[in-house]
């Protein structure tokens, strides 16, 4: 059947030609069910782009070109040559470029395409094709390609996002050739083009089996220790690989850390940057080498994938969404955990996502990603982070409140850990793993931490009130303050912040002994931190403790000791002042002792236990209101 297409002569009429129609239908059926073989793709592409039977069939063929396994690059190169002949209508040209972008990862090798880089570059001048050509060039660009192209063509075109993305990649490779300044974050660089083929591609690949990489979910390279012969014969194998030209080693071919070290200086990164996410070897390489172009490309791909999956999704069924989405997010999370830092694109994505989040969709993953975001400057933290979180917190269930508390605790922990690792006296050089570097002074960092701690304090006080001092929420809140109380001793940050009364008093009067005990531990740690900070203040005179905080601490300690030990509750100046007549009206005998160690409701179980050991229950004289 396919040979019929090769033999059709130019000028054969289309309309009313039943044989051609029948063959077309057969090809379409095959394409949508199993996908077309590489030879079939080659033949059909040639047939379409040469316009042997006019322009109407060309678009139709392009739409059904679903590859089963691979796309031969010769076919693509030939088709690109046909593009320049000039007879194909513009919309069909655009359709062709979109098709190339969709199946880009399935093209078996890219060296011939790179050879015609300059040829493709000339299409940039055409207004309609420009966005798509820029995207294609972005995927193909290497350092060698940049040098051979003329930059002047791009200048008058303006500052559209696709041009800026391409220019920023050029700037990374050859900074001396790009004169204009590129903004550090470019709004939505390249748009999604694979819509017409995406669903068909996914269907075909699902049918083919799990080993074929899907369009959007990245292929994961497996890490196995290979048999010895591979390791020995490796460099020879690399040199016989046609695409590597004996100089570079594609990263996908490395399978052990030893190989990585051997070939460190000549590694070639794959075109599909997302495939790096699953492989710890690749991540170690990226982390060590800090290759800006690679990070740029990875960031770009990641941001684009996150946007497409979660922010601008269509009306697809939700189950399909979560099946692909969940493993992708889990992999992203484990990558961030491995690298010990987040990606800037996931940060930008999160801020947008929080504004349309319902609080339960993919909650563990989103909260995990949220805890990885780097330090936010205090001027922006309220608008970007706190507002949407507040709206979600106060309208959601107890479990969301607890989850968010834990997330903010992890965020604080990561900020503090990062500070203790990177702090260089007064000036902190915060360079995230993107090409931007944020310089934040120690005071700026302290401001951000203060804002975060204040915010959580507020959430905690109000949340506990709304939930009736629920012990689960109280436990998560006390977790947070266990982190806060040790900021000076454990992480070297000269900052001490006391918990608000809305957290202290519910913990002190809690009905479970664990909360009271943890509160006592936290107060003990505060004391240790204060004394150590004070001694350091006398020595260096550089660190200034807030007098207000010391006063608050003293006040809390006095209340706590009076309440638990001295049986002197409800006295004046103790924070909780109830009028004496009111207390007498309550008919609680000896109300001043009602929350000491003997009578506290939280320790009731210990009191009963104590009596069980020595005497029987009948001999307990129950005093007061129990």
């Amino acid at each position: 059947m396919l040979t019929d297409f090769t033999q059709l002569e130019a000028g054969t009429p289309v309309n009313g030609n039943d044989e051609v129609e029948r063959n077309m239908v057969l090809v379409e059926k095959l394409a949508y069910s199993k996908g077309l073989s590489p030879e079939a793709i080659s033949i059909m592409l040639e047939f379409a782009m040469s316009l042997r039977m006019g322009t109407s069939l060309c678009a139709r063929v392009l739409k059904c070109l679903i590859p089963a396994t691979l796309v031969p690059q010769e076919a693509v190169v030939r088709a690109v040559v046909w593009l320049s002949v000039g007879k194909i209508p513009v919309s069909t040209q655009i359709l062709f470029i979109k098709w190339v972008l969709t199946v880009f990862d399935m093209i078996d090798a890219k060296d011939q395409l790179r050879a015609v880089y300059g040829f493709i570059f000339n299409f940039v001048t055409e207004e309609n094709l420009c966005p798509f050509i820029c995207h294609l060039l972005y995927l193909l660009t290497r350092k060698e390609s940049v040098v051979s192209c003329s930059m002047l063509i791009l200048f008058p075109q303006g500052r559209q996002p696709f041009l800026l993305s391409l220019l920023s990649l050029y700037k990374v490779f050859c900074p001396e050739m790009v004169m204009l300044s590129i903004p550090s974050r470019i709004k939505s660089g390249f748009r999604n083009h694979n819509m017409p083929w995406k669903s068909a591609l996914i269907a075909v690949q699902k049918g083919a089996g799990p080993h074929v990489a899907a369009g959007i979910s990245p292929a994961s390279t497996t890490i196995k220790t290979n048999p010895r012969k591979r390791v020995w014969g490796f460099s020879k194998e690399a040199q016989t690989e046609p695409s590597s030209c004996g100089k570079v080693v594609p990263l996908v071919q490395l399978h052990s850390f030893a190989q990585l070290l051997e070939n460190m200086h000549r590694i070639e990164l794959p075109a599909q940057m997302g495939s790096l996410l699953g492989s710890s070897l690749a991540l170690q390489y990226l982390d060590c080498v800090q290759d800006e172009s690679a990070l740029l490309r990875l960031n770009f791909w990641l941001g684009y994938a996150l946007h497409e999956e979660f922010l601008f999704c269509g009306d697809r069924g939700a189950s399909q969404n979560s099946q692909e989405a969940l493993p992708f997010l889990d992999r992203l999370l484990s990558t961030q955990h491995f690298l010990q830092e987040g990606f800037s694109c996931s940060e930008a994505f999160l801020y947008k996502f929080l504004n349309v989040w319902d609080g339960s969709l993919l909650r563990p993953q989103i909260l995990g990603l949220l805890s990885n975001i780097p330090v936010v400057p205090s001027a922006q933290i309220r608008q970007l982070l706190f507002e949407p979180l507040m709206q979600l917190f106060f309208t959601s269930s107890l479990f969301f409140k607890c989850g968010l508390m834990e997330c903010l605790n992890n965020m604080l922990l990561k900020w503090l850990t990062w500070h203790s690792v990177y702090a260089l006296e007064d000036d902190l050089d915060i360079s995230l793993n993107s090409h931007t570097s944020i310089n934040m002074t120690l005071s700026g960092f302290k401001d951000s931490v203060m804002e975060l701690v204040d915010f959580v304090g507020r959430l905690a006080s109000l949340g506990l009130q709304l939930e009736g001092c629920h012990s689960l929420l109280l436990s998560f809140v006390l977790d947070f303050y266990e982190t806060v109380c040790d900021m000076f001793m454990k992480y070297g940050l000269p900052l001490v912040v006391m918990p608000p009364p809305g957290v202290f008093y519910p913990a002190l009067f809690a009905t479970d002994p664990v909360s009271v005990d943890r509160l006592a531990y936290i107060m003990h740690r505060y004391k240790v931190n204060f004394t150590s900070a004070k001694s350091q203040e006398e020595l260096t005179k550089a660190f200034h403790i807030s007098r207000q905080m010391v006063r608050e601490f003293n006040h809390y300690i006095i209340v706590m000791v009076n309440c638990l030990w001295n049986s002197k509750m409800f006295q004046l100046d103790m924070g909780l002042s109830l009028g004496e007549d009111l207390l007498l009206k309550s008919k609680v005998p000896q109300y001043w002792a009602s929350f000491d160690l003997v009578h506290h409701p939280a320790f009731m179980s210990y009191a009963v236990d104590f009596h069980h050991r020595d005497m029987d229950l009948n001999s307990i004289k129950v005093r007061g209101h129990f």
């Binding site: 069924g317 504004n355 319902d358």
Partner: protein, 229 residues
């Protein structure tokens, strides 16, 4: 583990006639649980819905769900009445104002929720028109907006901004809901119940106004370019 108690609340639907309809036509009920039907063709009066016109019921709360497309509200209502710790009565409406005939039998409405589907312009316009028919005292924390399809590519950004502005200017909570999955509906129900309990006075030491101050948002939201320079 625990057996499911039969729902204690009930769902009532009232249809508001638009001003154009003059002749009488009974509107058929869409589900067996509907108890009230609207008959007759009198022009609905423009008397706004008032929050304090009746006494509250014991351990119960009444919520009014207003949605011009009438799709999500039914599913939400079915889940809402399953609440067991207190009785939830749900009333459904397509738009405000509600017909005058039912005013006698209508209990005190504790919370009015406007459900807006971001992919339809009509939904937003209907909600904006209905908002004008509420007594101003409702806007002390007894109104909230629920938005569906916010992540859909078909929903233009300006519409979401308009909804945000509307909610911020009226000091109302803005909730997002995923109406495509049962989990999303469950979550939306939980969030509505959180606000409803406060609005009906069932949470000690918390009033609707207090909660609305905590959940109020601001209108401006330029997130696209967080510039750190």
């Amino acid at each position: 583990m625990t057996s499911r108690l039969p729902p204690r609340g009930n769902v009532t639907t009232s249809y508001a006639h638009s001003e154009k309809k003059r002749d009488g036509s009974t509107v058929p009920a869409t589900s067996p649980s509907v108890r009230a039907r609207v008959r007759g063709a009198e022009r609905s009066s423009m008397a706004p819905l008032r929050p304090l016109s009746r006494l509250p019921g014991l351990n119960s709360a009444n919520v009014l769900l207003v949605e011009s497309e009438e799709q999500f509200q039914q599913r939400l209502a079915d889940r809402l009445v399953e609440e067991t710790t207190f009785t939830v009565n749900v009333r459904l409406a397509k738009s405000l104002p509600l017909p005058v005939e039912n005013e006698e039998s209508r209990p005190r409405i504790d919370l009015v929720v406007f459900i807006i589907n971001l992919t339809s312009e009509l939904s937003l316009q209907s909600a904006e028109a209905s908002v004008k028919c509420l007594d101003h005292r409702y806007f002390l924390g007894k109104v909230s907006f629920m938005v569906t399809n916010a992540r859909n590519v078909a929903a233009p950004g300006e519409r979401l901004d308009a909804v945000r502005k509307l909610a911020a200017s009226l000091h109302c909570a803005l909730l997002f809901a995923e109406d495509q999955t049962p989990d999303g509906v469950t979550n939306a129900t939980e969030r509505l119940l959180t606000i409803l309990k406060v609005a009906a006075g069932l949470v000690p030491m918390t009033t609707a106004l207090y909660l609305s101050n905590l959940t109020r948002g601001t209108a401006l939201r330029d997130i696209d370019q967080p510039s750190f320079d």
